[in-house]
Subunit: 365 residues, 2 copies
C-alpha cells in the first residue's frame, strides 16, 4: 500500500504510527472486544482515553494548572461565536485582521459585540503580519484576538526570543485561533487567555476543537448563551456533558503520544524549522517558482508559492501528483501553490518536494 | 480477536462489515494513498463520500425532495437550542415530556421561547407515553416537539398502522429527536417538519448529528443566531461551510451501505421486532426479571428490566460480562438493567442474552 506525501492544508497528514495503531485496534480496543467508536463515553475504558488525552496535551504543551482543556465540536468556526458569547463583559473587543479566517472571526463577533479592528494586512492580500499601533488598542477591551498562523496566506506571528510578534495586550486577555500551528512550535500558554484549535491539522480528525482557557474566563457567559456554547458546560463536566466526539479524541490521544515519543514539541519545532528552511532555501533562489511571503512573517506550517502564470501553476500541481506529491493547490481564493507541512509531514516529504521543484525549474526555465 | 455483544445505549455497536472496511481502508482509501481522515474536505475523493452518504440516506429513508439533509456537529444537545433558534416565529412551542432528554430539550428551548408542556409522563418515571389532550395544544405554535424513542426509559411513540401514537399537530410542524430509533423502523418523513438524530446509535461514531428538515423551515432563523447554528449555513453549502466531521460522515456512509445491503429499513425493522419480541417474550414470563414498560409503549431499541433488588441487578450485570454480554447497566438515573439492541446488534446477540437470562433465572429463583 503506497502512501503519498499529502500537502493538504487540513484535514491533512496524520502520523503513520497513529493511523496504524487505530487500524490495529479498530475491531477491539485494548482487549475490550469493541472499537473505541462503540464504547459508551461513560465507560471506564473510555474515561481512560479522554482523561489520558487531556493529561498528555497538558504535558506536551506545559499547560498551567489554572487553565482548563476542553474538547468541543463545531471547529474553529463555532469558536468565532463562542469566544464573544463567553468573554462578553463591556461588549468591546480588539481584533487583528490577518487573513480570511481572521476576517470570518471578525464578522461573526461583530454580530454580538463591538469589534475594533486594530490592524489589518488586507491591503496586500494578507501577505504579511501588520505592525500594531498600540494607541489604537482599547485597554478596557474584553479580549484581543489574533490568528497566530494564517493557513491560507502562510504568515505567522513569530514567538522566538527577540522577534516576538505577539502583541503586548497588557491586562486584556489575548485570544488566538491556533488551528494551524498548535504543537508545531513551543508556545507559552500563560501568555494567552484562551487558545482554540480545530484538530484537523496537527491534532487528529476533523470534528474536534481543542480549547485551552484560563479558569477566570469561564463561568461568565452572557445571558442567552446556549448550553452547548458555554465553556462552563464543558469545564464542569470534563467535556462529558453530552457525548463528545469519542473517536476523534482517541485519535488525538494517539497523536499526542506520538508527539511525546518524538521528544515533545521542542523537538518537532526543530524538524519543522528544518523543513521550512529547506523549502524556502530553494524557493528564495529559484527562477520559475517564487515565495509570496516576506521572510519576517513566514509560517513554518504553510508555504505558498507561485510561478506568476496560472497555466504553469496548474502544470506544477498536476505533475507533482504523478510523483506522489498531492494537494499542492493554493486556496481557491488566492491560487498558485501551497505546501502545508504540518508535524506529520516527514522531512523526507519536503526533500521529495524540493527534488521535484528542482526538476520543474530545469524543465520550465 | 473476540468481539463482545455490546448492549451500550450509545455510542453502541456498529456493523462489523463497516468497521472492517474502515480498518482495511485506514492507510489508503480507494487508492488515494491517504486515510479518509487525511483528505481535504473539498477534494474530489471526499466530495464523493459526503454526497454519497447524503444520497444513500435519502434513498433508505425515502426522504422527499423538499427536505434537506444536513450534517451538523454538537449532537442532539446542540439541536435543543438550534431548533428554537431556527423555528422561532411567534415565540411559542409545544413539547411532550417523555424522558430526561425531552426534559433537557424543554429546559434549553425555554430559554429562547415560551414552552408549553402539553403532556408529561414524569409522574410514573417516564415509563409510558402519555395521552395527548388536544385542547392543550396551541394551533399557532411554532412547532410541536417529541422524543420519538426514549433511550433511558425504553418507550416509543408507535407508528404502525392503526396504532399510530404520533400526535396530529395539524399545520404545526412536528419536530422529533430520533437519535435512538432512526433507521430502526420505517418512518414517513413527510409527517415531520424536522428530524434530528445524534449518530452514535444507529448511524456511526459520535460527533455527527443528522438533521432532515423541510425546506420551508430553513432561512428564517431569529436575529443573533450564530452562523454555525443556522440551518441555512449548512443547506446553502452542502454541509461544507467549514470542515465537517469527515471521518464520522464516512463511517455513516459505510453504515448506510450496510443498511441497503441488508434489504433496507423495512427489513431491519422486521429483525428489530423479532429481537424485541424475543427479549420481551422471555421477560413477560420470567420470575426474577421483569420489564418496566407497558406493552403498548415498548421501544424495540431499548429494553429496560429489573429484578427489584439492587444487589441482584449488580450480580446480573457482572455475570453477564463473563458471558461476553456487556454494557447492560441501566442509566445511572434509573438503575436496573437495559439492553440496547440497535440495528447492529445481531439476532444472535439477543439469543445469547436470553440464554443467559434463563440461566440467571434458574440460579436465582
Amino acid at each position: 500500500m503506497e502512501r503519498v506525501y499529502n500537502f493538504s492544508p487540513g484535514p491533512s497528514m496524520l502520523p503513520l504510527e497513529a493511523l496504524s495503531r487505530a487500524r490495529d485496534e479498530m475491531l477491539s480496543q485494548g482487549g475490550t472486544g469493541m472499537s473505541v467508536m462503540e464504547m459508551s463515553h461513560r465507560s471506564k475504558a473510555y474515561l481512560e482515553i479522554i482523561h489520558g488525552a487531556e493529561q498528555l496535551l497538558r504535558e506536551i504543551m506545559s499547560v498551567p494548572d489554572n487553565y482548563k482543556i476542553l474538547f468541543i465540536q463545531g471547529g474553529a468556526s463555532a469558536q468565532f461565536a463562542m469566544v464573544p458569547f463567553n468573554l462578553f463583559r463591556a461588549g468591546r473587543a480588539d481584533y487583528m485582521q490577518t487573513g480570511q479566517f481572521a476576517a470570518k472571526a471578525i464578522d461573526e463577533a461583530s454580530r454580538f459585540l463591538t469589534v475594533n479592528v486594530v490592524a489589518s494586512s488586507k491591503d496586500k492580500k494578507y501577505s504579511y503580519i501588520p505592525e500594531l499601533d498600540k494607541s489604537k488598542c482599547d485597554p478596557e477591551a474584553d479580549y484581543f484576538h489574533i490568528t497566530i498562523n494564517n493557513t491560507i496566506y502562510g504568515t505567522r506571528f513569530t514567538t522566538g526570543a527577540g522577534t516576538s510578534g505577539l502583541p503586548d495586550t497588557g491586562g486584556v486577555p489575548l485570544v488566538t485561533d491556533m488551528s494551524s500551528s498548535i504543537l508545531s512550535e513551543v508556545y507559552d500558554v500563560s501568555k494567552f487567555g484562551l487558545i482554540y484549535a480545530g484538530a484537523q491539522k496537527n491534532i487528529g480528525p476533523a470534528g474536534l476543537c481543542i480549547v485551552i482557557v484560563r479558569e477566570d474566563l469561564i463561568g461568565r457567559a452572557k445571558p442567552g448563551t446556549p448550553v452547548m456554547m458555554d465553556y462552563k458546560t464543558y469545564a464542569d463536566n470534563e467535556s462529558l456533558y453530552n457525548t463528545p466526539p469519542t473517536f476523534a479524541i482517541y485519535m488525538a490521544k494517539l497523536v499526542f503520544e506520538w508527539v511525546k515519543a518524538r521528544g515533545g514539541v521542542a523537538e518537532l519545532q526543530k524538524v519543522n524549522e528544518e523543513k521550512a528552511a529547506l523549502a524556502y532555501g530553494f524557493l528564495d533562489n529559484a527562477k520559475v517558482l517564487r515565495p509570496t511571503v516576506a521572510p519576517r512573517d513566514r509560517s513554518i506550517m504553510n508555504i505558498p508559492f507561485v510561478t506568476g502564470d496560472e497555466a504553469l501553476d496548474k502544470k506544477f500541481i498536476k505533475e507533482a501528483e504523478t510523483h506522489g506529491l498531492v494537494s499542492l493547490a493554493g486556496h481557491r481564493s488566492v491560487g498558485g501553490m501551497r505546501a502545508s507541512i504540518y508535524n506529520a509531514m516527514p522531512l523526507e516529504g519536503v526533500k521529495a518536494l524540493v527534488r521535484f521543484m528542482e526538476k520543474f525549474e530545469m524543465e520550465n526555465k
